[in-house]
Every structure is written in structure tokens, then in C-alpha cells.
Amino acid sequence: MISLARPAVNALGLLTLVALFVLAVLALGVVPPDAVQGDAQRLMYVHVPAAWLAYLAFFVTAVSSALYLWPRTRQPGWDLLAGSSAEIGVIFTGLTLVLGSLWGRPVWGAWWVWDARLVTTAVLFFLYLGYLALRRVPADPDVRARRAAIAALIAFVDVPIVHFSVNWWRTLHQEATVFNPDLDAQIEGSMAWTLLFAVVAFTLAYGYLMARRVQLARLEEGREERELDAAIAARVASGSERTDLEDRVPGEGTGKGNIGDPAVAGAGEHR
């Protein structure tokens, strides 16, 4: 459904690499430093797109989960997409927090402040970390997919509530510079273009990572099927004689809890 052909993925990867390289040159060499914050402000060109990517990833997770739950569009592919996207989202949420922390230290004078957006992002990080933990528990694929999809939507519904509650609570983070309520971008030209380019480059990276993750999941599935076939063949060959096949049944050592975990690994789990 969503898997790209191998050459297309490779081309996307190359394009991403080039875009990220150009971004590095632009952000570090071409764009002038901020008048007030100096070179520290250059972190914006990775911090903001990382945050964008995290939100994009969680949005894709929510949409894929909803599509999985909707009976007419129910396909294992949506579950795979939701899980892959959440993995990337969690990594980039973590990256956003770390990069923000590095930026905050010189500018705000602290690694961490209890500001609304920081707190919201931290909660988001743990929400989806829990979601991934739930995915890692082996179970029948259909059951696990349904469970994960519902958990993803439960988490997604929470995001605006967390956002508003924390906003009421406290705000120190600078207001949105580009998408402010007046739609009057308060950012100098070359900086704005570099930031826009950074967002595009990170979005490409997201596409590439997703494509690779889905490829990997397909390979895992294929291996499990082959191992299962081999185990069945071995048992058939051994006739009625009982062997220690249980020890060789697939699921063991297949990267416990990866997205394509086999049904067999958790067959005993499902009651």
C-alpha cells in the first residue's frame, strides 16, 4: 500500500542528504547571526524544523490510527504507518527538547524553564513513549493494532488539552514568530527563507525515514513468514515424532516488540 520502490527510496535518501548539507551551509555560513542572540540563534534552523517534524509525525500517527479503526479502511498497513511515524515522532520530540535546551542555556540562562511549550512538548514525549511501549508488548497482530490505534487516539485527544492547560499556567517561550495571530512575519528575509528550507529538508528526512522503516518492517514480516514455513516443514518432516521444535518456533530473537512482531511470539499472551 505505502511501500515505495527501492530506487525511489534511495533517490529520496540522496535528496535528503543533499538538502540537509545545503541547510548546514546556509544556516552556519550564509545567514547572518541574530543581532541580539548571536550565533546561538542558529539553533533555530534545526530546533524549529525538528519540532515541526515531531508534530507532523504524531499527526500522521493519529490519522493512520483512525484509518485503521475505520472498518472500511482497515488494513495492516495503516497500523504499520502509525507505529513507524510514532517512532520517528518520539525521536524528534526528544531532539526538539535537547536542541531547545542547548539554545535556552545561552539565551535564557537555564537548560530548562517551566514554560508552556517546553512542558507541553515534554508531556507529548512521554505520551508517545507510552504508546510505543504498548506497541512493544507482543500480542496477536490484529488485537495489538486495534489496541495501539485506540491508545494513539486517546493520546492525540489529550494534546490540545495539555496545550491549553499548560498555556494558562505559564508562558515564557517567545510567541510564534512566523505564524503569529497578525500573520505578520517578524523575521528577516534570509532567515525566513533558511527556516523554510530547513522545514522542507526535515520533511524530506521524515519521508525517507518512514520509507526505510516500512521497508524494514516488511523485511521483518517476510523473515517471520519464512521462519514459520521452515518450522512447519521441519515438523512435518519429523513426522509424528515430537521434537524440541518449540525452541525454534519463530518469534524468538526477532527483535522483540518490533513493529512486525509475529503473532506467534505473543500467542500465549492473548487470552
Binding site: 512521554f126 507510552g130 504498548l134 488485537v143 486495534r146 485527544v157
Partner: protein, 224 residues
């Protein structure tokens, strides 16, 4: 059978189990009290911090106790295949969800009452607007119970449920923790007007997750 009757059947069953086993009374409640005691060790009582941060400490203790109450609510179903009985009972998934939520909420409210008295006595806290505390307490408790029941059934039957439920539940109820603490601060200070936005937030959270539970619980119960 009407919805209310079905809900009451499930809630009554859970509360009867509790009345006979007294696990919440004998284990979860003392646990909450110990947490309050430990806060006094952590924040030297002589510095006057305790009465200032009492609302936050109270809700942290309640949340930790709620995790245990949720685990208990589904441990009961795991024994002797009781959950199969629940599935075969012909009760609507929504009724089972609301019933179990109600039972957890009732237990938590009683626990909050006792812990609240403990906070007033041991942390030297003055209470000014009782109505605010009651409203915020009920709204927050329903929200915690609803999300707890959802994650309880989600993790029911999984080997790692004891560790999974807190990881899933605590970030989700972060807004409840925030709202309930702020509302309680306003209630203790006697400025109800500051508490209203928070009470509304708590009510919104509770209604939202009651809705999600009514829609999703049936399918989760089938899979559990």
C-alpha cells in the same frame, strides 16, 4: 435493561468485591497516607512549605493511589476468568466502562476525603471554599477514573500491565493534575473565581474521556 441499571450492576459488583476484600481500604489508602508522610520528610515541615504546596502533594498522592486502584479493578477481572463472565454477560461495552469507572471514582472519592483530612491536619492547611474543592475534586476524579479504566482494559491480560498502566496513565492525566492543583489552591485561598476555568477544564477532560471510553471500551474488552 436500562443503561443506568447496567452501569449500577457493574459498579455494584466492583464495590461489593471491594467491600468484601477491603484491598483499597487496607492497602491503597495506607499507601496514599504513607506518600503524604514521605512528603513531610522530603520537604522539611519547619519551613512552612507543606501548607503552601499541599494541593499539589495531595493530588500526587491521589494519582499514585489511582494507579493502584485501576490495577486492582482489572486484577479482580483477571482472577478465575471473571473477565470472560463480563464479556459473556450481554452487557453493553459502554455500561461496563461506565460501571467500572463509577466504582473506581467512588473509591477514589472516599480515599480523597480521608487523605484530604490528613492534609488539613498534618500539613496545617486552612480550607476556605469547600464547594470549589468538592466540584474540582469530583470532576478531576471522574477524569482520572475514566482514563484509568480505559488504560486498565487496554493493558488487561498483558504480562507487563503493572508497569505499562502508570506509564500510559500519568502523562495523559497531566492536565488533570495541573487543573486540580490550581483549583484546589484557589479553593484553599478562598478565591473561587480563579478556580472556575480550571474546574471547567477538569469537567471537559472528564466528559471527553467518558465519551472516548463509551465508544472504545467494548472493542477493547473483547480483545482483553
Amino acid at each position: 435493561m436500562s443503561l443506568a441499571r447496567e452501569v449500577w450492576l457493574v459498579a455494584g459488583k466492583d464495590l461489593r468485591v471491594e467491600a468484601r476484600s477491603r484491598v483499597t481500604l487496607n492497602q491503597v489508602l495506607p499507601f496514599g497516607a504513607v506518600v503524604l508522610l514521605l512528603f513531610a520528610f522530603a520537604l522539611d515541615p519547619d519551613r512552612g512549605l507543606l501548607s503552601e504546596v499541599a494541593p499539589g502533594l495531595f493530588w500526587v498522592a491521589v494519582l499514585l493511589a489511582a494507579v493502584l486502584a485501576v490495577s486492582r479493578s482489572f486484577a479482580v477481572e483477571a482472577e478465575h476468568g471473571a473477565i470472560d463472565g463480563l464479556r459473556l454477560s450481554g452487557l453493553d461495552g459502554a455500561s461496563v466502562f461506565l460501571g467500572k469507572t463509577l466504582a473506581i471514582a467512588v473509591q477514589l472519592l472516599l480515599l480523597e476525603l480521608v487523605l484530604g483530612i490528613g492534609v488539613v491536619v498534618f500539613y496545617d492547611t486552612a480550607v476556605r471554599s469547600v464547594a470549589v474543592l468538592v466540584l474540582a475534586g469530583v470532576a478531576a476524579t471522574v477524569g482520572i477514573a475514566a482514563t484509568g479504566t480505559l488504560f486498565g482494559v487496554l493493558a488487561a491480560g498483558l504480562r507487563t500491565r503493572e508497569t505499562l498502566v502508570p506509564l500510559l496513565l500519568l502523562p495523559i492525566v497531566a492536565p488533570v493534575m495541573l487543573g486540580a492543583t490550581r483549583a484546589f489552591e484557589a479553593g484553599l485561598d478562598g478565591v473561587p473565581s480563579e478556580a472556575w476555568p480550571w474546574v471547567q477544564l477538569l469537567a471537559l477532560f472528564a466528559v471527553l474521556y467518558l465519551g472516548v471510553g463509551v465508544l472504545a471500551f467494548g472493542s477493547l474488552l473483547e480483545d482483553a
